[in-house]
């Protein structure tokens, strides 16, 4: 594949196919959905962070005028001792079900206990207050180090630690411990002239999508269950519903409506099974909407973590050894993204001797969910701060030490994979050459920080069909919900193959009955994998239409070629017909043409990013102002550069929020005390400069156009980059996130 290939559609900036719908209010999101006879559901949530549920009496709620049905965990099929297969390994069905409606214990404040369906949302809310729940309140444990103590309150009596192939013999909050090893760690540290070892703590943060979770469910008397919702993956919702409700997949249809942000947080189901239970109980369609407090308290945040990093380097800057312990909060049930964090923690560097230990620990907080490069940001905060400190100790420029040690094609990561062609070095060079890096930096209390990041990206299954219209346009049918412009980035790949403008491809996201299995919009996979499927489906269209042209011209199919939107005959007859003209003649040549492709591509190329940030620290208030921000990133090939820039800018700003302000604040009882957008401070446009996104293109050999996923890696470097900039500004190494004014003032000894 040539790196300089010329494209007609790829790399241009057409407007989104859903553009008008989304600026006119016509796009239908989950909460906008209406259906005749609709009831409204509301979930009662636990006021306690840790409590045994002694009894639930729903009789007063059921008697409340307007109430049509009440459900509790008793309405879920018995889940004891079963495992659920959600495609990514088996998980305990009891844990899965208990997170939907608690059966024996409430494990976090906000844990769903019961739900009501009524003729109005207000009546449903009133009725929730009439449900009598008797709790035996237990002490909560909210922090991983405390949860690992031998005398810590135990969340799950049946949970035993699975550690390096052995299973523990007593109850523990440590769900699992794993290890990756490469080389000889002792030898690596022996070779080092400088060794830095630091501890890091990161807070619990939320994905913060603006659209709350929602679901409308309908059980028809024929047993068909339909769920309309916003989700990152209609098929994963179908799988989860089938497992939780123990209901046949063939009887479940999930209709994905527009989705108002997800960032990983709209993969797991919460109110969808509840709406289904209420619909079954009442025989009517039921809509369940969360409010903002429900979202914070009842849906997966991303984990807080406790991380130790030890790295050693020689005097000339070669990193010889790296060791880490990553302890991640899983929330109330096992399953934090510590595995992904371990894959990413030292991924940007080629280090001979590495040991990585990962721990998954349950605490009395909502079950964690993926959040944009899950685990990688926590890990990079530690690594990139220590690399900065090594550079400082060795008197080497922080970009140079990264260039000297940066991973390249052929290098092996500690967790196994050998890199194909990657573009980390190119992101460093782009940062080095950017005017930002050469600009003056030396004012008092101003500082500059550098950090890099990695996310591996994923492939997984995608299906696409393409129907050719008689006017030379095509209808592209896909199963990937569009969170940020993927209708366009997928359609453009089909348009490139077919030699037609992007506007001549009409993409539609359809329900689970209307397309082949398609995995979630997540893992930065959609433009890569569903785009790849669109490419292959378009190739299928071309093949079929070649046969039609051959039929028209009475030549052998092999004698038809296709280029630049024109079919032509080679070897003899001089014939030519455009894609558009041939598309009008499909009826007479054999009927409609439908191209199809299903994929599970293995070559998702990893993404690297390097960020440069300038900050000003207000030493009186502890506030950190972002003055300038430049993010370079290897996109492989940017299909739609504006939308790639948008992903980078959005990810950077989420990372800035994580770095400076965002955290779940708990009181001693385990209650989140800031469950609102007022008190959980996400960045607004007031807090930011324009973010300069620099796209580097090192084509991914695993995709026909060289695409790498772009969505996730931009969130990875910001906390470390900002910490390094704060150090440059005031000489204080911040090792705890967020680096909020109070923490910074404390670190500076001002309070």
């Amino acid at each position: 594949m040539s790196e300089k290939k010329e494209y007609k559609v790829i790399g241009t900036r057409p407007i989104r196919h859903d553009g008008v719908d989304k600026v006119t209010g016509r796009a239908i999101y989950g909460a906008d959905f209406q259906i005749t006879g609709l009831l409204h559901g509301r979930v009662l949530r636990s006021p306690h962070a840790h409590a045994r549920i002694v009894s639930i009496d729903t009789s007063r709620a059921e008697a409340h005028p307007g109430v049509k049905g009440v459900v509790t965990a008793e309405d879920l099929p018995a889940a004891e001792d079963k495992m659920a297969d959600l495609g990514e390994g088996a998980v305990s069905l009891k844990y899965l079900c208990d997170n939907i409606l608690a059966s024996d214990k409430a494990l976090y404040k906000g844990h769903a206990i019961a739900a009501v369906a009524a003729t109005s949302p207000h009546i449903a809310e009133e009725a929730c207050e009439l449900i009598d729940v008797e709790y035996e309140v237990l002490p909560p444990v909210l922090e991983v180090r405390q949860a690992m103590e031998s005398d810590a309150p135990i969340l799950h009596e049946n949970l035993r630690t699975s550690s390096l192939g052995e299973t523990g013999d007593k109850p523990s909050n440590i769900a699992s411990h794993f290890q990756h090893k490469k080389g000889d760690i002792d030898k690596g540290f022996d070779e080092a002239d400088v060794i830095i070892e630091r501890e890091f703590v990161t807070g619990t943060v939320h994905q913060g999508y603006i659209e709350p979770h929602n679901a409308t469910a309908l059980y028809n008397p024929d047993g068909q269950l339909t769920v309309w919702c916003s989700t990152q993956g209609a098929f994963t919702v179908r799988e989860q519903l089938a497992e939780i409700l123990q209901y046949p997949i063939s009887k479940i249809k999930v209709v994905p409506l527009e989705i108002g942000g997800g960032f990983g947080g709209k993969i797991n189901v919460y109110v969808k099974p509840v709406a289904a239970l209420l619909a079954k109980k009442t025989g009517k369609p039921v809509k369940v909407l969360m409010n903002r407090a429900d979202v914070f308290e009842g849906t997966g945040p991303t984990p807080a973590s406790y991380i130790t990093i030890k790295m050693g380097a020689t005097n000339d800057g070669k990193i010889t050894a790296a060791q880490t312990s990553l302890v991640f909060e899983a929330g109330a049930y096992p399953g934090s993204p510590v595995g992904a964090g371990a894959m990413c923690v030292f991924a940007p560097y080629n280090i001979e001797n590495v040991v990585i230990d990962g721990y998954d620990v349950v605490v009395n907080k909502p079950k964690t969910a993926p959040y944009r490069a899950p685990g990688a940001t926590n890990a990079a905060f530690g690594t990139e701060t220590v690399v900065d400190e090594l550079a400082e100790k060795l008197n080497i420029d922080p970009l140079e030490i990264r260039l000297m040690n940066g991973a390249k094609e052929g290098d092996r990561r500690a967790d196994g994979p050998v890199y194909p062609r990657i573009g980390f070095i190119e992101t460093l060079e782009a940062a080095k050459e950017h005017p930002h890096y050469a600009s003056p930096n030396g004012k008092k209390y101003h500082g500059r920080g550098i950090a890099s990041g990695f996310w591996f990206n994923i492939g997984l299954e995608s299906s696409v069909t393409i129907n050719v219209n008689p006017d030379g346009t095509v209808n592209l049918v896909e199963g990937s919900t569009d969170i940020g412009g993927t209708r366009a980035s997928i359609a453009m790949q089909a348009a490139e193959v077919l030699g037609i403008p992007a506007e001549s491809v009409n993409p539609t996201v359809v329900d689970t009955n209307s397309i082949g299995y398609t995995a979630v919009t997540g893992g930065s996979r959609t433009t890569y994998a569903t785009g790849y499927a669109a490419y292959e489906a378009a190739q299928d269209v071309v093949q079929q239409m070649k046969a039609r042209a051959a039929k028209l011209w009475d030549v052998d199919e092999d004698n038809v070629q296709f280029a630049d939107g024109e079919f032509s005959s080679i070897n003899g007859k001089e014939e030519q017909i455009s894609f558009r003209d041939l598309s009008a003649r499909l009826g007479e040549t054999g009927g409609p043409v439908i191209g199809r492709a299903t994929m599970n591509p293995a070559g998702a190329g990893g993404a690297f990013a390097t960020h440069v940030v300038d900050v000003e620290v207000d030493v009186d208030t502890g506030k950190v102002e972002i003055l300038r921000y430049t993010a370079t990133q290897d996109a492989g090939k940017a299909i739609h550069p504006s939308y790639v820039e948008g992903q980078i800018q959005g990810g950077v700003v989420q990372g800035i929020g994580w770095a400076l302000n965002e955290e779940y604040i708990y009181n001693d009882e385990g209650e989140m005390t800031n469950a609102s957008f007022l008190d959980y401070r996400m960045p607004t446009c007031l807090d930011l400069p324009m973010i300069d996104a620099v796209i580097v293109e090192v084509p991914n050999p695993g995709h026909p156009y060289g695409v790498r996923g772009v969505g996730e890696v931009p969130i990875v470097p910001p906390p470390a980059a900002i910490a390094n900039a704060i150090y440059d500004a005031v000489g204080i190494r911040m090792t705890e996130l967020p680096m909020s004014p109070d923490r910074l003032l404390k670190a500076m000894g001002k309070i």
């Binding site: 209010g25 409010n291 930011l688």
Partner: protein, 159 residues
């Protein structure tokens, strides 16, 4: 709960309604009138997704009771395009890629419209200040600001 008569003029059309006093203007617009373009993100006036224009001012409609809006003139996102033509702010959001999921977009567009109607001659800094009550989680705001500045420029040029 007893309902109260309320007359609202929404996007130029009169609506005579009977509504419960606990219903917010947002709920009246979305559930009673059926204008679901205005979004509910937080219900506490913190995110701006529900911004509509009431008598010329940008207002978070989740913080207004429907009964108190009686007699007011309200513009929602559905009332912005006219004669099949998008408003310059809507067009600018499309052109620059000023949204990703699109959920905060109606609120941002209505807040921007109120600002630009009042005075299109504002600096980036002033727009940032004035749009500080609207949260977007997808874009990092860069392309939103580009859209608003581009639309304001166009409106200044054409006025």
């Amino acid at each position: 709960m007893a309902k109260h008569p309320v007359s609202l003029k929404v996007n130029g059309d009169e609506h005579d309604l009977l509504i419960e006093p606990r219903k917010t203007l947002l709920a009246v617009l979305r559930d009673t009138i059926g204008l679901t373009g205005t979004k509910e993100g937080c219900s506490t006036g913190d995110c701006g997704a529900c911004t509509v224009i009431v008598d010329g001012k940008a207002v978070t409609s989740c913080m207004v009771l429907g009964v108190t809006a009686s007699g007011k003139e309200i513009t929602t996102i559905e009332g912005l395009a006219s004669d099949g033509e998008l408003h310059p702010i809507q067009q600018a959001f499309i052109d620059t890629g000023g949204y990703q999921c699109g959920f905060c977009t109606p609120g941002f567009i209505m807040a921007s419209k109120a600002l630009v109607d009042e005075n299109p001659d504002r600096t980036e800094e002033e727009f940032r200040f004035a749009l500080g009550g609207n949260i977007c989680r997808c874009t990092g705001y860069t392309k939103i600001l580009e859209a608003v500045l581009q639309a304001a420029e166009e409106i200044r040029t054409n006025s």
